[in-house]
Amino acid sequence: MWSNVKTLTAAIVLLGAAGLQAQDVAIPAGAVNINLPDNSPLALKSFTMADSRASARGAALALDLHMSATLRNNGANRIHGVTLRVVAQEVTLGGKGSVTYPSLNVGPGETFQVRIDMQLMRPSQVTGAPLVQVDLDGVLFQDLSFFGPDRLNSRRMMTACEMEAQRDRAHFKRVLAQAGRAGLQREMLESMARQSESSQLAVSVKRSGRAVTSAATGSEHDAEFAFLKFPDSPVEPLRGLARISGNEARAPRIEVRNRSNRPVKYVEMGWIVSDPSGKQYMAGSLPSADSDVILPPGQSTRLLQETTLNFSAKGQPVNVQKMVGFVNQVEFADGKIWVPTRQDNALLVGVLPASAEEQRLTDIYRKRGIDALAAELGKF
């Protein structure tokens, strides 16, 4: 893999950067360790870190990493998703992230390119260890089988993305079959308009209580969730509340009941907030805890997180007036995933963002036209 000599060289270069005020130096490839298991269906074909720089800023060291790799599918199945786990010196400093590539369609022997752009700010002390460790967290195949350690729950996330992708491809293929390319074109234009019109909140999240810097002025109070209930959802929201103060929401908790006849092990609620003018924003999601708690049929449980969310839009605080919750994702004990239908999501038009697959398909239409889109749909 990567030799100790390269790592040492990287450390020396970065130490040099720490000593040179207001100058920057290139970061060698040895500063990044890419770890693919021996039995991985992915193989690293090439890797580059062009234009990656380290510069000293006062007592700190700023690292700007641009990684680009070509991966080859060495397995026998088509790959539909890959998640990489990215860690910056886990033990000493922390800093963890993931990069997921959903909606892939990579056949055996085929290659695809991935990019990871990172910025790290850290004290200047450099140990001999690589600065960044990139591990394979999971690979999702066309048949929804999975490979990988799944430390970041990437199997569930990529499976949900794949379920949404299958749902949306089926919809657009149906439109193409029933209304031809003109009908598909209308659908694309409508989707692009929805994507451009949806308003986004800038949200920061922290684990603790109220933020000192909040624009919140009023006293904190409990606010109840209203619920949008989908008829085919296997889980039903019962009641919920969060502590609200101005543009902050804290400690959200929602009680849900499993109304299906199958045990459930994960529930994720979507969370919409309205400002005083009635404008709605997608605020985030409220997942159940990561621990494998099984919710039997007919039983209820409470989703809660001890975090504080701070909302703003275009630099201005968005005071929370109302909150709406809806069931966004359910995982059964057997690993099957439920996601809302397009008819369900139509109730949240203008608020809910398009799926990753709808985003990909509209991007193909925008860049390459309706014929390329029809050809793409024909590949699945």
């Binding site: 991935v114 910025q119 920061s204 999601s285 975090t307 991007d363």
Partner: protein
């Protein structure tokens, strides 16, 4: 007697002594004329109120300047709390002076997703590879 003393002419010692006594008296009188009176000394003490105020203000200004130059401005304790947030071209996990960011420079349409458990995600189409890419950072 030494031979040199024999060469000194006759000196009128009594007259010279009278002149010297007169000159001394004249000097003492002139000194009395130019010396400040004791009352004036009491009106301008070494540490008057204004001078003391000025000195204290100077010391205070020196101390404040020193604090500003030598130490960072006092921050609220909460500023060092771990948090995740969106930045200009990416998403970031930050704690004090350490930051971990995943960037999406060049992406035109970015969708952010927030997890109340302490995650922030970004979804975009990579302008170079054409792949839909989803990044996520975690509150540590």
């Amino acid at each position: 007697m030494l031979p040199e003393l024999k060469q000194i002419p006759e000196v009128p010692w009594n007259r010279i002594a009278a002149d010297m006594r007169g000159n001394i008296r004249l000097g003492l009188a002139a000194g009395e004329c130019v010396r400040p009176s004791r009352q004036a000394e009491r009106d301008t003490p070494l540490f008057s109120g204004a001078r003391a105020t000025l000195a204290l203000a100077s010391v205070l200004a020196l101390m404040v300047t020193g604090l500003m130059l030598e130490g960072p401005a006092p921050r609220m304790a909460r500023a060092n709390e771990p948090m995740v947030q969106a930045t200009v071209n990416g998403i970031q996990s930050r704690s004090g002076d350490q930051a971990f960011g995943l960037m999406h420079s060049g992406a035109s349409s970015v969708t952010y997703t927030v997890g109340a458990q302490g995650t922030l995600g970004a979804r975009y189409t990579d302008p170079e590879t054409g792949n839909v890419t989803m990044t996520k950072v975690y509150v540590e």
